[in-house]
């Protein structure tokens, strides 16, 4: 009921704002809030975000940005509480999974409704089209792709050498990965493969990429029908089950997966490229860490999904909307992505800066692990947010069923997924 009231309130305000255009510039002092999850963790993410805010404020003396640190898993609930409490919410670093909910229930404003077409086109020029698609719902941009990463197969080159595998040729397909896993398992005690597919923070972002790479999808394109019990999805989960049954992978929590890889006890790890910095620290002076693209199903094209966040604008006041939009532009500018990539570790959504010595040119030469991630950008299958106010319940129910189908005792993957698909369909709006 409360959600519906909030949705109604924002639907009304969105209609009101759609008729107006924001001012050309910020002429009076204005303070905006920026809900940001990088600020909620100590270290590079927070430092780089504070640095960008400071540079923006220096260039825009009329704008004061108040950063509000909120952990990513709490953002949607925190925004709900703050909306009801009447707290100002201007700009949000919104996880992609929550973007649909933000547009439908939390008052995210479509950029096309407040910014002129020419100004939008000017800013979008040079950005990865697949990245921009991520923030679009019903043809309008409710989120501007911001921090961004794709799944990468990290591997321990020392373990590969130890068992006679060629570290120059990491597995490019799931079949090759299974063969490599069998070889590692037969001769060592290392865990051949860990994946970040399951777990409380993953939801379905990585699974969407795995299923898309086999030609399927968890939900149809117009987000009205769950499709994760279709043959392609079943085949993908059956492949994961075969890896689990062979002892090549195990159902580990995310901390155990990451620590196993960082400690040198796991041979391969399919996970977001965002954890690269953590793995590099563990590998230093211990083992050689390398990265490869996400594996394919036979000769089908790989369709990596993405994790990360978009910037969603929630202000209803035109002056604050202009200030928030200016901050969005700066954060996704060439300078912004230079800081984001080199200091946090996310992908630059402006590929032209990768070879530009003024921006990332020199940095990329010293950081070869970024290359597989960059190469995957052109094949990206943008993450599809689950719809409606029950999006989390739908996602959790679906992933629980897939986890059961992968690691449970019942061999009938189709029956497990079909039952879950019917159940989650009833939760759709």
């Amino acid at each position: 009921m409360k959600t519906s009231l909030i949705a109604l309130a924002f639907a009304t305000s969105a209609t009101m704002t759609s008729a107006q255009t924001i001012p050309e510039s910020v002429t009076e002092p204005v303070t905006i809030t920026f809900y940001n999850y990088n600020l909620a963790s100590a270290g590079n993410g927070a430092d780089a975000t504070n640095k960008m805010i400071a540079e923006f404020e220096a260039a825009n003396p009329n704008v004061t940005v108040k950063g509000v640190p909120v952990p990513p898993q709490d953002i949607a609930t925190r925004l709900q509480a703050d909306l009801v409490a009447g707290q100002p919410i201007d700009l949000v670093q919104m996880p992609f999974a929550a973007l649909g909910f933000a547009a439908e229930n939390l008052g995210a404003v479509a950029l096309e409704d407040i910014v002129s077409e020419a100004e939008l086109a000017g800013h979008f020029e040079g950005m990865v089209p697949n990245g921009l698609e991520l923030g679009k719902l019903d043809g309008k941009t409710y989120g501007l792709a911001y921090t961004f990463s794709t799944p990468v197969l990290f591997y321990n080159a020392d373990i590969f050498r130890e068992v006679g595998l060629d570290p120059e040729n990491p597995p490019a397909t799931w079949e090759a990965l299974k063969a490599a896993g069998d070889q590692i398992k037969a001769t060592t005690d290392y865990l051949p493969l860990a994946t970040g597919i399951y777990g409380p923070t993953a939801l379905d972002w990585l699974m969407q990429g795995v299923i898309a790479s086999n030609g399927g999808a968890v939900i149809n394109a117009d987000r009205t029908k769950m499709t994760f019990a279709e043959p392609e999805a079943i085949e993908a989960v059956e492949m994961l089950r075969s890896l689990a049954q062979a002892g090549i992978t195990r159902n580990l929590g995310i901390t155990a997966q990451m620590e196993g890889m960082a400690a040198g006890n796991t041979a391969m790890y399919l996970q977001t490229s965002a954890i690269q910095g953590y793995l590099v620290k563990g590998a230093e002076d211990n083992f050689e860490l390398r990265a490869a693209a996400m594996p394919a199903f036979g000769d089908k094209p790989v369709k990596p999904s993405n994790s990360g966040s978009a910037l969603s604008l929630h202000s209803t006041d035109p002056a604050k909307q202009r200030a928030a939009w200016e901050l969005m532009k700066f954060l996704t500018s060439k300078r912004g992505y230079t800081i984001i990539t080199s200091e946090i570790g996310y992908l630059p959504l402006r590929p032209e800066i990768v070879e530009d010595p003024e921006y990332l040119g020199e940095w990329v030469k010293d950081h070869p692990l970024l290359q597989p991630n960059l190469a995957q950008l052109k094949n990206l299958a943008p993450y599809v947010p689950l719809p409606g106010p029950n999006y989390l319940q739908i996602g959790i129910s679906m992933m629980d069923a897939m986890e059961m189908a992968t690691f449970g005792e019942d061999d009938d993957v189709k029956a497990t997924l079909t039952e879950a698909q019917e159940r989650t369909q009833r939760l759709m709006p």
Binding site: L39, A40, A42, D47, G67, P69, A85, A263, Y278, G282
Partner: protein, 287 residues
């Protein structure tokens, strides 16, 4: 004629010292073992805080290259000193206010019989069963309307009275000897004087134990400060610790360094009040 028991008794007396010392040795060995089990996680926390990041998963009992780098990083990455000060102030204020309301309410329930007192006491006891999460959003809305978001006062406000403190102190005061209270009454003492000059000094142990419990509970609180604070400068140490844990990897070294720093004040307070706490437990056991 001697009974079997009488015949056996000299023998039992001769073996008693040996058995007693054996029992003592086994008892001590067991206690030392259990103590080591309890202390080991603390030892491991401190050792991990001294390890460099590429040796964080080492199982050596002592790091090859121990350093204080993690402490320096933790202090620089989050405003640790500020957060520790905030947490200390909030915990101290909550402890004092909760003890005050608990003592006053406890005395009222213990000494006075008034209409509806049993129902009121029952109602207070029932609030103990309501989880914090249930009242968190209504509390948040109230605090927002009072304009107290992102203030230390808002961290204290919902905790000014606690059902547990009222119930515990009321029970302790009910079992306080009525003869002593009556004697004070005959000497002309008022309720206020009886409470603060007779009862409270004699309940020092109970109050000290309760103070430690309240202080530690407030010190460890996470969800309410997480919802309420909007800046790290006005936040508390548990939020600071969480900042070293993210889905992109846990920074174990700095986290253990920050945890060590966060544990020290609690340890210090326990050491200061240790005698009172043990006395309180002894009394409870003898009663």
């Amino acid at each position: 004629m001697m009974t079997d028991a009488a015949k056996l008794s000299p023998m039992r007396t001769r073996r008693a010292p040996a058995l007693a010392s054996w029992d003592t040795a086994v008892g001590h060995a067991l206690m030392i073992f259990v103590s080591l089990l309890c202390v080991f996680p603390i030892y491991w926390m401190i050792v991990t805080s001294l390890r460099p990041s590429n040796a964080i998963f080492s199982t050596n009992l002592w790091p090859d290259a121990a350093s204080l780098d993690n402490y320096a990083y933790a202090l620089q990455a989050v405003p640790m000193t500020r957060m520790l000060t905030n947490t200390f102030l909030v915990s101290l204020a909550v402890t004092l206010v909760q003890l005050l309301t608990g003592i006053l309410a406890g005395y009222a329930f213990a000494r006075w019989r008034f209409r509806g007192s049993a129902i009121l006491f029952g109602a207070i006891a029932l609030t103990w069963l309501v989880p914090l999460q249930v009242v968190m959003i209504p509390n948040y809305l109230l605090v927002a309307r009072l304009g107290m978001i992102d203030t230390l006062g808002a961290l204290i406000l919902p905790h000014i009275a606690s059902a547990f403190a009222i119930m515990l102190l009321a029970q302790s005061m009910r079992s306080f000897p009525t003869e002593v209270v009556e004697a004070a009454r005959m000497d002309g003492a008022t309720h206020w004087e009886i409470l603060w000059q007779v009862i409270v000094p004699n309940l020092r142990g109970t109050i000290a134990s309760l103070a430690i419990l309240i202080f530690i509970t407030t010190w460890n609180e996470y969800f309410w400060p997480l919802l309420l604070t909007r800046s790290t400068e006005n936040s508390v140490v548990q939020i600071g610790l969480q900042m070293f844990i993210s889905s992109e990897g846990t920074q174990w070294g700095p986290l253990m360094a920050a945890s060590t720093m966060a544990s020290l004040p609690i340890l210090l307070i326990y050491l200061l009040l240790q005698r009172q706490v043990i006395a309180s437990f002894m009394k409870s056991g003898l009663r």
